[in-house]
């Protein structure tokens, strides 16, 4: 059984640009980058001859490594750094035997694997943030364009008082902005090297350990943490949570879009994607499914990162290993969800007429709060609520518009006139500060 070709769903659930930094080959290259930087750092500090750098740098190119052999040997050695270092030394030794002895000096597998992963994420996550930014811009454009587009608000999946589509889109943008900020912040906090040698003391470097660490970090564009963090995994787990929060936020937006584009609601639709294999009339919200799938999978992956935290002493036995595939999978899914929702929002069509028709379809029932509030000063709160509830119930059971029933009630008409009642039941008059709220979002985002 050959294994050429990408995973079947890598493009559906991923984002090709993000995934490129999270592939097996990208992982190998990142680890090699760390090994090269480590030799370079020691040379820069004159701890080893500068002549050692070039042979190592020349050899450290991922496409030259046999991925199948790496996978096989990783299974025996327990991680991929051990065979990778072995192969790298062999490649370097073919050119310069002395330089080969400098490879991986003073480092442990975990230094290379963890720092390599940090490098990968520091390359991949900004691309995800870029997709979120793209989606956010589209949302703000929708919010601005639809600041006055009234639609039914829906709680418990039932029509409630009206909102505007601008407010809905502004809410999406506001939440996605927070998720994006959180993601950038967690990436920043995690952008530190892991460098401690076998047990975190950098003992192989004698007293030079911290100088090597500082140079290494500078070469990689990362920072030096206060301490090596080998068995303290909070930075990675925190980044996993931030990715999970992005997926959750995109999932909420996806669910809204999917619900609003149901056949019977039809307030949103999508430029055509996702045909059916049998039904000619179907065009499915594929992007929403991708984001909701990511929102369904991300919690388990983030929880795995949290579960893996209590790692034993100076190196985890099981917990650390559990992280390796989980972090990249989570970042890939987040990238895919971001790509899918950026595309979905780009293809979104807003149907004002359906929004209005749906508002009107309840014959004013969704405006009952407004009527009740207007009657409260006259009837008292409880009687007002009871009067309107009974009218709404009658309207529903008789299939009549609420306005008709209300007009037939003397206790209502003696307090509010025909015209006031009309106005009370007009949803465009009952969206409160929706426009101001949209404005607040647009201002902040531009600031």
């Amino acid at each position: 059984m050959s294994d050429t070709g990408p995973p079947l769903y890598s493009e559906l659930f991923g984002d090709a640009e993000v995934t490129a930094h999270l592939s097996s080959e990208a992982a190998v290259q990142a680890m090699l980058d760390v090994e090269v930087a480590l030799v370079r750092a020691q040379a820069a500090l004159d701890l080893i001859p500068r002549s050692a750098v070039a042979p190592v740098a020349d050899a450290a190119s991922a496409p030259h490594f046999d991925m199948r052999a790496l996978a096989a040997e990783a299974a025996r050695d327990g991680n991929v750094a051990i065979p990778l270092v072995r192969m790298l030394r062999q490649r370097v030794a073919a050119a310069d035997a002395s330089a080969a002895t400098r490879v991986h000096h003073g480092a442990t597998s975990q230094d290379i694997i963890d720092t390599g992963l940090v490098l990968q994420l520091s390359r991949a996550v900004p691309l995800i943030a870029g997709r979120l930014n793209e989606a956010g811009q589209r949302m703000r454009a929708l919010a601005a364009a639809h600041v006055d587009t009234v639609m039914p608000g829906r709680t418990w999946l039932r029509q409630a008082t009206p909102v505007t589509f601008g407010l809905t889109a502004a809410g999406w943008s506001d939440a996605l902005g927070r998720a994006s900020t959180g993601l950038r912040s967690a990436l920043h906090a995690a952008s530190v090297i892991q460098f401690g040698g076998a047990t975190g003391t950098l003992a192989a470097f004698g007293k030079d350990g911290l100088r090597v660490a500082e140079t290494l970090a500078a070469l990689l564009g990362l920072r030096v943490p206060t301490l090596p963090w080998h068995a303290h995994r909070d930075r990675m787990a925190s980044l996993a949570c931030a990715l999970g929060l992005v997926c959750g936020t995109l999932g909420k937006i996806a669910r809204d879009v999917a619900l609003l584009s149901q056949t019977e609601i039809g307030e949103l639709s999508l430029a055509l994607t996702g045909g059916s294999s049998t039904m000619p009339h179907k065009h499915n919200p594929v992007g929403c499914a991708v984001a909701l799938a990511a929102a369904t999978r991300a919690p388990g992956l983030a929880a795995t990162m949290l579960s893996a935290m209590p790692q034993e002493l100076e190196r985890g036995l099981g917990g650390w290993q559990a992280e390796w595939e989980v972090m990249t999978e989570l970042a890939q899914l987040t990238g895919g969800a971001a790509r899918a929702m950026a595309a979905t929002l780009g293809a979104l069509e807003v149907h004002r007429d359906r929004m209005r028709a749906n508002l009107d379809a309840t014959g004013g029932a969704n405006m009952s709060e407004a009527v009740s509030l207007a009657l409260t000063p006259r009837l008292g709160r409880d009687a007002a609520h009871a009067t309107v509830a009974s009218a709404a119930s009658r309207a529903a059971s008789e299939g009549r518009p609420l306005v008709d029933v209300l007009r037939s009630l003397p206790e209502v008409m003696e307090h509010v006139g025909r015209e006031v009642l009309e106005q009370l039941l007009d949803p465009t008059h009952y969206v409160g500060v929706a426009a101001e709220l949209v404005e607040r979002v647009l201002e902040i985002e531009e600031g």
Copy 2:
């Protein structure tokens, strides 16, 4: 960035034979098998010409399909069945245009994807069960060989009353037997076709739907469920839970092995695997790490399958899609954990001398319960417990064996003689029905 080569950790965390049935290519082949069987079933029932079968069967070979194109088109169509059917039709049409129109007739993408996954699992899971069987046999051999090998029991990671290594191994075997039985049973329950057409009515077949279903299932070696199960995912989720229970059980055994092979305990060791990249003296319990990593990851994956269950009406939007990669990942991890622990148990070395030395190291403290029970009839339970607790505390703080302290206590010596005390403190006399319990396990497993 090329993506040739297997995932870096596919061999460490997987089992090559199991993974072979869970790869992208295996998924494609399984779906093609379903399409072929569907044509064959209709032909067998004379619903379509028998001549349609050969061209479809000939074309339905996974290696002929462009995996990269499938992945790309799945991203647009929302699942891989849509482009796969399109490509299959094209391939068939090249040979026989009429046969091509028979492909996928009456089925929906979900029929093909779900039934294909069931086929894959029905091929992969028995291999996992085979590995578990291998591990179980080794455990039972260890239980039989060490039925009288006394070692410290440990609760809260502290020495408690003694056990035997035979009892420990029998406990592992007993638990793994349950997990394995549960896995086979969940696989059996899940070995049904999904076949319902667009919304579960098999409408495209008129009144022939159930006959086609029965023939299709028979051809695939699966059963027909009472109803199509498109949006009812309990069978898959239940199988995921069964896989999770296997991982948890293997993880418990792995944790025990890792703890008992700590440098300072040394009661177990492993034939050499897992060298260190820097420390020449290290040989790491790689298999235990693999199983513990699986036990750390499996709960999140099983939870994802449970979370995905509330799928919308006749087809899930997000939930179903979330399952696709999760089920195969979970099965792969379970396969890897089973393989790793079968190997670990095969390489296990048991050090009776260290077990005995560790028992003796506490100077009898771990036998305090026995002494306390012996004193109870004379002193009353509370006084007996207090006397021994105070002696144990003194022994610990003074670094003396408990037996010495007890011998110095008149309230003890007037009730139990020197010899009885000696016997009370002999761990080999205080393992209760351990041997009978081992026997119970060995009998059942052979039965």
Copy 3:
């Protein structure tokens, strides 16, 4: 801050009858029941005087124990069995000092806590199963009553080919039946005593351990497992998964009910429950929210049980403790979801007219598959699909019924006559074997 009164949401998310067996007091009583049975078992075997039984049995009544003191002392001792045994001994000693020394002899805390929990679950879970049975009966009644009630099938939340409401309800019943069977089966498997003494050897009973175990189990209505299972937690984790599967199944049904009772769909409605605090016209699907909340929480709780499985050697340090509140919480949530959905199904109103109106609202678009299949023999599959897809697209954009557009197409009308087209677009003619499938479910359930 006093803590009298039940948790605020115990009734919303629970079922009072189920919760009664899962409360703190019920836990204490169950542990006391185990202690009494242990004394009784030894007396029955003449290992201790029969006179010890009555004083212990008399003292072992939960209402006599100070729950606040128990909670406080459990925090110091690390579990509740230690202070409970202490208090029980004191209470017994007040009546019979000798009997007091028999209390808890040979057992360890884990024996009492685990077996107590098994007792609680063996009392609570059958009540949950009873609720599921109640819900299932209602579903089967709905399936029978609506075997011919045609409604839109919906995939991706969009209208697809028609189904019947009978088929929908039969699918619910079928899935819930499996979940219920799985729950009973997992409970049966878990209905074993945990009884091993300090480390599982029953050493304190010498060679009588297994006889005591058998008598103890018989007195409690439980079985003796092959081995003590102290650190092998699969039976509990498996029961947790079974509870999770029930919640997931109920959640799927709840989601369907909620979606079908949306304002704009209105195919189902609920007898009035769940008013709004401000909106007089709102009646919310509270039962669906309860079940969906349980389906959202259960996966994390089941995952916790799986995560806790790799417990250390003869007693877990952290993992075991993690289970205590989780199992009862999960059982309570499942009980609440079962109660809520039984009530919801009992209050369900089915609106055939709205189902039909919704079917008709797409002007036949949801019947496009039928038309396409009818044209396939004439036009070939691809041309047939393309013709209907283009017609559906035109119908949608022009706001016309599909039938009108189709009638205007010569390539259609030359192959299917006006009447045939009419019939093809009649959803009641396109529900395949829906009625047979309903029948299969009804037969099995009655069998």
Copy 4:
């Protein structure tokens, strides 16, 4: 079955001070505080008579409310705010009928429940942070006191190169500092009111909505968010993740303490807590079990909060309800873990002699890296590694100290003298920059 008394494990797994703010009664009081502030805010803005404030404030005291009735009515209404508002109005009306009509005006249940929860957390979380601070101070004291206390480093649970206990404690402190900072930051971000009325527009206040919101927030000591966040749950989910990260970090520390205090390792011990119900010599690390139990449970709870994020439109159906008990449970568990580990660290005894004895027990094997590095310049890296690996293997199999074997090897002794070898094998000379790393942690924390 009565339900008086606290949950059995509330004190073991909780912190009484933290729990006091998370109890049912505290929840009710927080919601009442919001209702009072809402009336007060409107009075302050002269939207309602100031005379309405006192009657509402007087009535809004949790102890006056019947918790049992609230729980029962919440089950019918779907949340607790609805019956609470009803009861509050009744209580107010008894004193002032007009004031009663002002209660809850313009708010929806979610405003009260969400803002009430924020209030509760803003009271409870700082107490947790205080416990973390307490634990952190103890860790820094340990780090300072043991900056030169050499002990075995351990990777894969095997001895590796030496570390210092100061470094271990500094690593704990560093990680806990980050977790604590993250918790405070997530609490700050979440300290906003939820206030939007039925669907987030504040429509009932006309154009005054934002002014009311600002006054309400100021009265409650919270901030006004850009937008109402009813169905956007990221702030709560993010706080849940921060709590999960605290539990994970405490769990890692607990695991280290538990491992280092194993009978056979004995490098740490705890002042006596946690006796055994049967074994007089046992003193169990209860605090570690509490923290590890929290670390086992928190991931599932945090995952639940992430899973619940995709909430429908203007109010979640199932997702929102799922959060209610989960957030308080997670905060309680975190409080308990923080309390338990603060106490555990306060009771920690460090045994330098055992650390040294354990280091020496391997006969220098854990120093093999140092010897290998010293030989590398002479023998080349591979030969050096192979020489030492073979010597270590021989030493292990023959039960001799590594130093003896090395001394017998001419290829070693010709390169390193007897004295240098001695020094190379002295662990106190091989802890690299451990002291500097401790210093870095101590400086930062004091800064």
